[in-house]
């Protein structure tokens, strides 16, 4: 439970390169202008590897993994 992560996009850094949506289409799609729309909620275990890949491959470091819990506390 404590190891649940979700994806967070830095909207200012993101310039719509779209690699994340190519790598993880299960959770990320692009809007009409090429910017990612992330499915809400924690990343399922079997997609963690791809999610990590999406984070590492972002050319502008605009997407990151963060603890799902921290978000819940805030909301």
């Amino acid at each position: 439970m404590s190891k649940r992560f979700e994806l967070a996009v830095d909207r200012i850094k993101c310039d719509g390169r779209g690699l994340c949506a190519e790598i993880l289409p299960e959770m990320i799609r692009l809007d009409s202008w090429g910017y990612p729309i992330i499915a809400p909620g924690p990343i399922p275990e079997h997609l963690m590897g791809l999610a990590q890949r999406a984070v590492e491959d972002c050319p502008v470091l605009a997407i990151a993994l963060r603890r799902a819990e921290a978000q819940k506390q805030k909301a």
């Binding site: 949506a21 190519e22 790598i23 993880l24 289409p25 299960e26 799609r29």
Partner: protein
């Protein structure tokens, strides 16, 4: 009401495209692995081929004995720059070897 209907068809569209995009992703991942492996193999083969070509184009040609004598002679006189020594011998073989180069390259 238009909104309800609209968003519903839209989500269905998304479900469908997710499947396609997952398949495209998997195909591209396989392609990446194949291309990388292919590049590694061709690079290794390339080292072999280019090494061989390099051996052939060495002055006095392929004979490894000549090459090794060249090494020993130069190692005995390290202070003399070997580049000067070798380049002086090139004009004799250069035209022939460049022809080899062209045929080998194609």
């Amino acid at each position: 009401m238009a909104l309800r209907g609209g968003s519903k068809t839209y989500t269905m569209e998304i479900e469908e495209t997710i499947q396609n995009r997952v398949q495209a992703r998997d195909a591209a991942m396989r392609l990446l692995n194949r291309l990388t492996t292919g590049a590694a193999v061709s690079a290794l083969v390339g080292v072999g081929i280019l090494g061989a070509v390099s051996a052939h184009t060495i002055p006095g040609t392929a004979g490894s004995s000549t090459a090794s004598t060249a090494t020993t002679s130069s190692s005995s006189s390290t202070t003399i720059t070997s580049s000067g020594l070798q380049s002086s011998t090139t004009p004799v073989t250069s035209s022939a070897s460049s022809a080899v180069a062209v045929s080998g390259g194609s």
